[in-house]
């Protein structure tokens, strides 16, 4: 089942290779059909998933190859637990929409584009489903290539700069992770993630720290966490709409997912020790991203910068390392995928109509495109974290978790709520409201049926998650609870240690309260 869902897109890509390149309609249909089939499979997985089990399920375990000169068996191991379930669902949901969105803006080299899209889907699903470190790494890097092409071939004016920067930046991080992967695999004698999770505590703390940071660097670049974020704005700005949607919707989640699965879950002790650092980066990232967004005149770039801010929330919540923080972050990954994806889609729509993304080129669009305006406002409100929509639930849980873990970063994070409203609403106003200053904007066509077909499902999820988050958090609960137990164990161990050597550790421990109020 999981193999099928992972490789079905690849199969679709292969089929596409045999479709003549000039039959654009057929190409699109095949691609769409493939992604829809994957979405259907995703739904099946969702319903088959047993939310009461913490461990990964629907395992596919085969031997892939044995590392020469050792007995280490690298497995082709797929499995899904609550956390990956959400990510898989997100991917499966977004892909058909993304494919639909390409109908407008991808007119040249459609075949290649669709092939890359489908390859990318396989890569992304693989990342979320792999339970083998090596396999994960392979998928992790494979998913870079399609985006490299998508930005590089179908991107905007500075696409080459953007795509190289994106690729090298993330690749550099990945390579450091590769060393970490190798170290783990060779020292623990297995590449199976659950096994590694069990065995890592046997390594000494300094080694764990180094490994943790080797992993965290790669993920931090991908997320992106604060000082590593500059590739994102460029990549987003230059990418075609569909690329941006995927980038924001899923690819960045690979970073946060990685932080959770391979950072926190594998190295709970280190995570507890350095939680303050990531909370700080996350919280500062929230505010910093908001400031960046305020300074933008390009709508797409603004949303890209807002991603920095929003992912700051996710990082903040993850490293709050308590129940609400983790849950909020997991949910917020989905939320960000939906709302920011939505925003990128919407920006793409007006870009197609006006071929500019400069905010001051718009204004008053609500008059000529009321339905569009409605969707835009909902998307913005979801991003801003309006209660009742999805963004709020995640943000609230994250901020609560962060506050409980360390009030300082929690409060700084809260300030992001204000700044978020400032730049997003300001952009909304300048695009949608006010008088129409550019005559070209007077006769822009409103959202078409196909565009609505892309937007409405996402809007539905926006509201659905906002009103009934438990439907989405339910399957995650068991997995997160198990993770929480490990984290709490690490915290307890640390507290015990701090008590033994108060002079050294006490200072830090005072800054980071070890537990919740209970």
């Amino acid at each position: 089942m999981l193999s099928l869902i992972t490789f079905l897109p690849l199969l679709g890509a292969l089929v596409l290779l045999f479709v003549p390149g000039d039959r654009i309609g057929l190409l699109r249909k095949v691609a769409l059909a493939t992604t829809l089939a994957v979405a259907a499979l995703g739904l099946t997985v969702w319903f088959q998933f047993d939310g009461t089990r913490a461990a990964a399920q629907m395992l596919v375990e085969k031997s892939w190859f044995t590392i020469p000169g050792s007995t280490i068996d690298v497995g082709y191991t797929l499995g899904i637990d609550g956390i990956s379930l959400l990510m898989v669902a997100l991917t499966a949901l977004l892909m058909p929409i993304v494919i639909l969105s390409t109908y407008d803006h991808i007119g040249k080299r459609v075949k290649e584009f669709m092939v890359w899209m489908l390859v990318m889907e396989t890569g992304m699903l693989g990342v979320f489903l792999s339970l083998d470190l090596v396999l994960f790494y392979v998928f992790w890097e494979v998913s870079l290539i399609p985006l490299y092409f998508i930005v590089g071939v179908w991107g905007g004016e500075r696409r080459l700069y953007a795509t190289i920067k994106f690729f090298l930046y993330t690749f550099g991080g990945s390579l450091v992770m590769l060393v970490g992967v190798l170290y783990l695999v060779y020292n623990l004698g297995t590449s199976n993630v659950p096994a590694i999770v069990q065995q890592v505590p046997s390594l000494d703390f300094d080694t764990q720290t180094l490994l943790f940071f080797a992993f965290a660097l790669a993920f931090a670049i991908k997320v992106p966490v604060l000082p590593f974020h500059t590739w994102l704005a460029d990549a987003h700005t230059e990418a075609p709409t569909s690329g941006s949607v995927l980038l924001a919707g899923v690819l960045l989640k690979m970073g946060t997912y990685g932080l959770l699965r391979f950072g926190i879950e594998i190295f709970p002790a280190v995570s507890v020790h350095y939680a303050w650092l990531f909370m700080a980066l996350g919280a500062i990232g929230i505010v910093y991203g908001a400031f960046l967004a305020m300074a933008q005149s390009d709508l797409k770039r603004l949303i890209a910068c807002s991603s920095v801010s929003h992912l700051g929330f996710v990082v903040l919540g993850l490293f709050a390392l308590n129940e609400s923080g983790l849950r909020g972050s997991v949910l917020q990954m989905v939320n960000h995928g939906i709302s920011t994806g939505l925003l990128f889609l919407l920006v793409g729509m007006i870009y197609e109509r006006r071929h500019t993304r400069q905010i001051d080129q718009f204004g008053g669009l609500a008059a000529s495109m009321p339905v569009f305006a409605l969707c835009f406002v909902v998307a913005v409100l979801s991003s801003v974290g309006l209660p009742g929509l999805n963004g709020f639930v995640g943000e609230y849980m994250i901020l609560l978790g962060a506050f409980l873990a360390d009030p300082l970063w929690g409060v700084i994070g809260v300030s992001g709520v204000v700044f978020g409203a400032v730049y997003l609403l300001s952009a909304t106003r300048r695009v949608l409201f006010g008088p129409i200053t550019h005559p070209e904007n007077r006769h822009l066509g409103d959202a078409t049926g196909r565009e609505l077909a892309m937007l409405v499902p996402m809007l539905v999820f926006t509201v659905w998650i906002g009103l009934q988050p438990s439907a989405f958090l339910g399957p995650v609960t068991a997995s997160l609870d198990a993770l929480q137990l490990r984290i709490d164990g690490a915290k307890d161990a640390r507290t015990a240690q701090a008590e033994r050597t108060p002079a050294i550790r006490g200072e830090r421990a005072a800054l980071v309260p070890a537990g919740g109020p209970q």
């Binding site: 890097e141 494979v142 590089g152 080459l160 450091v176 590769l178």
Partner: protein, 517 residues
């Protein structure tokens, strides 16, 4: 020619297979009393023929080819002889997997699964380079294809001798048997000044390196009184004179594998030489030299592990930087080859640092896999360049790749794949090559070196990506497309083989790894 006489000599040697009882005491000290005894001790039970079989097959093939070149009616059979030589040799090598002859000829030659695998790498490299050479040459050169093919077919013999050598003399002869044909091949396009220049540079520096090697070997001999690598590594030399000798030998080998600061010839020669020859040089020579380097690595003092690793890093750095802004593709690939040599040298560093009993075996595995992936990637890349050169334009310029994705989607896709493999992106063989190399470093606890190496390969990717950018992302130059020359089917097949190999090693590495010892 006197080829036939040689054939005769060889043929005469073939039945010399006295089923003599195996004798031990393979000492280099010749006992002057009993000649028969010497024969017995040397030839043992004929295992040496099994060991040398692949080489003999190649030699026979090569000589037959030469004969066919002279004898007009047989001309058409030249490719057949070439392929037969390779095929029989490969078959014999596969035979060695199950039946490892081990040390033969008084311990001067080793033939086991490892050397057989190396041999296969060499054959592959030769075969691919040869296929790409079909139709590459124009005018008068094309009339010399018999000679060309002969020289090409001789080189893998030298390579096999090098990796099998357990005696410095054998190594030296293998090296020469590899080098001298390559000198000639580099300058093969006599009508092209670049080719001549490449030939002369390669030759002069090569002989200089040979001089260093010989002098070093002689000093080592003065110091230790033996040429047997096994003995030398068993008790690593410590005297100053021996160490100096080792240093000179190392310099010479480093020259062959193009390690900083012995790499400077590489870009010039690779650029100037005919592209198929470049492919052979880049992959075959490097593989052979590394095969030897790893088996003889323990000649180097263990303390030099860090030194070697640092040299390796410098090599990677220099190679990558040299390639970074390169506009000439062959030159870029040459620098990239330097970087790859550096990466492989990391294996040697790791091997020296490791105290594991399996260190050599692991290092060999890593190097083998890496080299295998490199053979597919680099030969494929050079091969495609060779094909493109035939279109008449100056296709080795980076800019001339623009629009190729439109005019030749297949070639462009293959080239892009090779670039990704050379860059070590997963799902290509290059990734697992890199993986195994780094794992050697990890096992040797050289984490810092590993991270540095990893980061340096980011630079590498930058220029591989430039190729892809030119292929796919930049607009085609104005004007009509370059003329499409008819491609030999063989080149397509070779490219497909490279693509398949690259992908297979990247997706199912077990296909290859299970052959590793």
């Amino acid at each position: 020619m006197n080829a036939s006489t040689f054939l005769g000599t060889l043929a005469a040697q073939l039945p010399a297979d006295p089923r003599a009882p195996a004798l031990t005491a393979a000492t280099p000290m010749a006992k002057s009393d009993d000649l028969a005894h010497m024969f017995e001790s040397a030839f043992q039970d004929g295992q040496w023929l099994v060991a040398a079989g692949p080489m003999i097959a190649l030699a026979v093939g090569a000589l037959l080819l030469l004969v066919a070149d002279i004898a007009r009616p047989l001309r058409a059979m030249r490719p057949l002889f070439f392929l037969a030589g390779i095929g029989v040799s490969a078959a014999l090598l596969f035979g060695q997997f199950s039946n490892e002859p081990g040390l033969v000829l008084e311990g001067t030659l080793l033939a086991n699964r490892t050397t057989a695998l190396w041999g296969i790498v060499f054959l592959l490299s030769t075969l691919l380079a040869w296929i790409y050479s079909l139709g590459y040459y124009r005018g008068e050169e094309s009339k010399l294809s018999g000679e060309h093919d002969f020289l090409m077919l001789v080189t893998p013999i030298g390579m096999m001798l090098m990796v099998g050598a357990q005696d410095l003399l054998i190594f030296f002869l293998g090296l020469e048997l590899l080098s001298i044909p390559l000198y000639a091949l580099a300058a093969f396009q006599r009508g092209r000044s670049a080719s001549i220049e490449a030939g002369i540079k390669y030759f002069l520096l090569g002989t200089f390196a040979t001089g260093l090697l010989l002098y070093g070997t002689s000093l080592l001999y003065v110091g230790e009184g033996t040429l047997s690598i096994a003995e030398l590594t068993r008790m690593p030399p410590t005297s100053a004179i021996s160490l100096f000798g080792v240093a000179l030998i190392a310099s010479s080998v480093f020259f062959k594998v193009s390690v900083f600061p012995f790499h400077l010839w590489v870009p010039d020669v690779y650029q100037g030489a005919p592209t198929p020859v470049t492919a052979l040089m880049a992959t075959g020579t490097k593989a052979a030299a590394f095969g030897f380097l790893i088996s003889a690595a323990l000649l180097l003092p263990a303390q030099s592990a860090t030194l070697v690793a640092v040299i390796a890093l410098l090599t990677i750095l220099v190679g990558n930087l040299g390639a970074l802004m390169q506009e000439d593709l062959k030159r870029m690939l040459a620098y990239s080859g330097v970087a790859h040599a550096g990466t492989l040298l990391l294996v040697v560093g790791g091997l020296l640092a490791s105290d594991s009993p399996d260190a050599t075996a692991n290092a060999t595995n890593a190097a083998l896999f890496y080299m295998g992936a490199y053979v597919f990637g680099a030969t494929g890349a050079f091969g495609i360049l060779a094909l493109l050169e035939n279109d008449g334009a100056r296709f080795t310029r980076l800019a001339s790749l623009r629009g190729l994705a439109r005019s030749r989607p297949g070639a462009a896709a293959a080239l892009a794949l090779f670039m990704l493999s050379l860059g070590g992106i997963p799902a290509t063989g290059g990734f697992f090559g890199k993986w195994f190399v780094f794992s050697i470093l990890i096992e040797a606890d050289m984490i810092g070196i590993a991270i540095a190496g990893a980061l340096l390969s980011v630079v590498a990717l930058a220029y591989y990506l430039r190729v892809i950018i030119a292929l796919y992302m930049q607009p085609a130059p104005e004007g009509e497309l370059p003329p499409r020359t008819v491609r030999p089917l063989s080149a397509g097949v070779a490219t497909l083989v490279c693509v398949a190999g690259t992908l297979l090693m990247g997706i199912m590495p077990s296909v290859v790894t299970r052959f590793l010892p």
